[in-house]
């Protein structure tokens, strides 16, 4: 790495060593991990478990793409295919995307970023992880014992009266995982309100914290409605109470309202923390304060607030009144604006910066391009007229994969790479990780862009077989998926490798400004020995320069 084109600043590798005492080696033994209250250890527990579930969900995705290579339903029975895509959605959404950044990076970093020694409720934090594991293991159990084939959306009356698969156990798994999410969000809100270090006012918080605050509001207020929807489905399925059954006077559309009231904010739960990561990464690798800090902070909150009022845009063709459609379409346009604001603010953070292209920055660039496409196609769907043609087709599938995978998953990988030195004390190998980022980007586009076209042409989603004229695009998509798989496998391999063989990172290899970078890597269990006092702005690179000068001056 030529010193001109990189900001990486590592200690002298010949004498560098991992700090003698840190949160990883403070206590040893399995119980010290399973009964920990340390937010950092819990974050690592989450990291391992969500990676596990990601690969299960990914394997299911592979099966879907393999089936769709040919127009006929010839790889597996249609019932099996229905189970495969249902479980793919359930695992990816509830057991990977929703906890991904908040439960790993959020858990690890929020106390560090605000100058606290831990989250407000460490035991609740650990409980969160156990609930997540209980839900996840239950989900795997349901898969092993026959799976569920209702789609991740559990639409009634299909899920209540017309399938005999494991709806109840899967619903229970999601219910339990929902509480994990509620407790995480609750913990974050209390921590951010009550445990900031002296001088850390709201507008000195890193944007990562703002993003998690907004996502936590959604988690806390939205998830209980999903819980009650699942409870009602369970009651309807077991004792037939009739709230969703038209022959008993119920209304199946009521379930749709209750379900989407959570599931729309859920998508913002999934993306907002990723946006927080992007703010941090773009700032660091341009050496600049995020352009329009206040706008970006408020847009996170705006997305959270508006996000509660748009749920029926998932129901435009379901027989809701035309006037309701007007209202929800208008609100959907409003919720699209803050995301656009963020993209432009991030772009202008680059303006007159000093940019380097380490792996987190490559993922961040990928995010910006792919999220822009995904977000714009969301506007296609929020426009009520075009939604009629595009809804329930592969256009929707492409749209949400662009924002979730091209957006959120790239942001997650950006964050993992960015904070890997802080979490482990080691650097990842730069060249192969840049290669993996590029491979992922190419594979992703090849997989999902053809699906926009398929949707325009009218290919419905959740189809195991399709008219032969759609085959070419499906073949492209599957080819891309195999490349994408490689792109996701590589990080697992080299990150594990780096635990032993990576370069020693030192406390601030990126020369970044956050509080988390001013302490050792990996951090102490108690994070800070002395309570930090926040006497400078967020992203204050001039303050950082003065620190370096002080450090140099005080040695020797």
């Amino acid at each position: 790495m030529s010193p001109v084109n990189t900001i990486v600043s590592l200690p002298d590798q010949s004498t560098a060593r991992i700090p003698r005492v840190n949160y990883l080696n403070k206590e040893n033994g399995l119980l010290s991990w399973l009964l920990t209250g340390d937010h950092k250890r819990i974050a690592i527990l989450y990291l391992i478990s969500i990676t596990f579930f990601f690969f299960i969900g990914g394997a299911l995705a592979g099966l879907i793409r393999l089936e769709l290579l040919t127009p006929q339903a010839d790889l597996m029975a249609t019932d099996t295919y229905n189970k495969v895509f249902s479980m793919h959605g359930i695992i990816m959404i509830f057991f990977f995307l929703v906890p991904s950044v908040p439960a790993t990076l959020g858990n690890f970093l929020i106390p560090l970023m605000i100058g606290a020694k831990d989250l407000a409720l460490p035991k609740i934090n650990l409980l969160s992880w156990y609930l997540y594991m209980a839900g996840g293991i239950l989900a795997i159990y349901t898969m092993a014992t026959g799976g569920v084939d209702t789609g991740w959306t559990f639409t009634t009356p299909l899920s209540t009266h017309y399938v005999n698969t494991n709806v109840l156990t899967t619903g229970l798994a999601v219910f339990i995982a929902g509480f994990s999410s509620i407790f995480t969000g609750l913990n974050f809100i209390v921590t951010i309100h009550k445990m900031r270090a002296p001088g850390m006012t709201w507008f000195k918080l890193p944007l990562f914290v703002w993003a998690h605050y907004a996502a936590s509001i959604l988690m806390v207020l939205g998830t209980p409605v999903l819980a009650i929807a699942i409870v009602l489905v369970a009651l309807e399925r077991t004792i037939g109470i009739g709230v969703f059954d038209p022959t008993k006077g119920g209304d199946p559309l009521l379930f749709q309202h209750l379900f989407w009231f959570y599931s729309h904010p859920a998508v913002y739960i999934m993306i907002l923390p990723g946006m927080g990561v992007i703010s941090e990464v773009i700032s660091t690798f341009s050496r600049k304060r995020v352009f329009g800090y206040t706008a970006v902070a408020f847009s996170s909150v705006a997305i959270a607030v508006f996000g509660f009022f748009v749920w029926a845009h998932h129901m435009f063709i379901m027989g809701v009144s035309n006037y309701a459609v007007l209202v929800f379409s208008l609100l959907t346009m409003l919720v699209a604006v803050p995301s656009a604001i963020k993209i432009f603010n991030w772009t202008f953070t680059l303006y007159k910066g000093s940019i380097t292209f380490e792996t987190p920055m490559l993922y961040a660039f990928g995010f910006m391009g792919l999220f822009t496409i995904g977000g714009m196609t969301g506007v296609f769907l929020g426009t009520s007229g075009t939604d009629i043609h595009l809804t329930e087709t592969y256009f929707i599938v492409a749209h949400f994969h662009f924002v979730m995978v091209g957006g959120m998953l790239m942001a997650f990988l950006a964050g993992i790479h960015f904070w890997w030195p802080k979490m482990t004390g080691r650097m990842y190998p730069e060249k192969i990780s840049q290669l993996a980022a590029v491979v992922t980007f190419i594979g992703f586009n090849l997989t999902f862009f053809p699906q926009f076209i398929l949707g325009m042409l009218g290919m419905p989603r959740r189809y195991a077989s399709y008219p032969p004229e759609f085959q070419i695009l499906n073949v492209f998509s599957t080819a891309g998926a195999s490349i994408l798989g490689v792109g996701y496998l590589l990080p697992v391999l080299y990150l594990v490798w780096s635990l032993k063989y990576g370069e020693i990172a030192g406390n601030n290899p990126w020369q970044a400004t956050g509080l988390e970078w001013q302490i050792q890597s990996p951090p102490l269990t108690e994070n800070f020995v002395v309570m930090p006092i926040m006497d400078h702005e967020a992203y204050d690179y001039e303050w950082l320069e003065r620190q370096k000068v002080k450090e140099v001056a005080s040695v020797g």
């Binding site: 005492v21 409720l121 004792i239 800070f528 020995v529 006497d535």
Partner: protein, 249 residues
């Protein structure tokens, strides 16, 4: 941060100040700790509001659509029993509030007495609920469980319907009473579940209170549980008029 070098190396530890044993080390002071856990409990109750909110929404919609069926269904509930339950719960909220005061003023025996009274009142509520549920089973008003429309098609054959002066319902409206009872069981059942959890925690608290855990200055647990108990009470105060008091003059 004024002293980055002290933070970068973790070798030295700050001197351990005097603090109460119940202060968790990630908090700077007991005030911060109490404040944070109190805020957390309020937030949790907010999630409970959202949880019950879905049920209340469903209730409001169906009551609007099937009003005669809801009136007939609600006439099947016993106002004396429901009123007694309301009285029990309100009293238990009072005893709970007294318990919190006792904890704050370090009155151990007072606290234990108040917790026991709350416990008993809560059990009483559940007991009366059991009686009501049993009545529903016996009269075949449990949805999907040999549900009978007889009381609504022939109100003269039914004691409660006769007492309320009900007219026979047409068959299609009579069928909608099943929706009423579905919501009745879902809402009161969910409420009862929260009561059971609360009573279990009360049991645990009585043991700890007798050991003096809450009267030595650390009252957060009792205060926060009090919030939870009051919340469960408030849910009932909404349920009672909505379910029991439709169209009663």
């Amino acid at each position: 941060m004024s002293d980055s070098s002290a933070i970068a190396h973790g070798e030295q530890e700050a001197p351990h100040e005097e603090h109460p044993s119940y202060l968790r080390h990630h908090f700077e002071s007991t005030e911060q700790q109490a404040d944070a856990s109190n805020f957390a409990m309020w937030l949790f109750l907010l999630t409970e509001v959202m949880f019950f909110g879905g049920l209340f929404t469903a209730y409001l919609i169906y009551r609007n659509w099937y009003y005669p069926a809801f009136v007939a269904g609600s006439h099947q509930l016993s106002i004396p029993l429901g009123g007694l339950n309301t009285l029990l719960l309100i009293t238990s909220s009072f005893t709970m509030a007294m318990g919190v005061w006792c904890a704050e003023t370090r009155r151990k025996s007072g606290l234990v007495l108040c917790l026991i009274l709350t416990f008993i009142l809560g059990l009483g509520f559940l007991g009366i609920k059991t009686i009501e549920y049993t009545e529903k089973f016996e009269k075949h008003h449990v949805p999907s469980w040999h549900y009978s429309l007889n009381s609504f098609l022939n109100p003269d054959s039914d004691k409660e319907a006769r007492a309320a002066g009900d007219q026979p319902l047409p068959l299609d409206m009579a069928r909608k009473t099943e929706v009423y009872f579905s919501l009745y069981f879902a809402m009161t059942g969910m409420h009862a579940l929260h009561m059971i959890i609360g009573i279990a925690i009360l049991g645990f608290m009585i043991f700890r209170a007798r050991a003096g855990a809450y009267t030595a200055g650390h009252v957060t647990f009792v205060e926060n549980f009090g919030l939870y108990w009051h919340f469960v009470d408030i849910i009932w105060i909404f349920l009672f008029p909505l379910l029991y008091l439709i169209s009663r003059h």
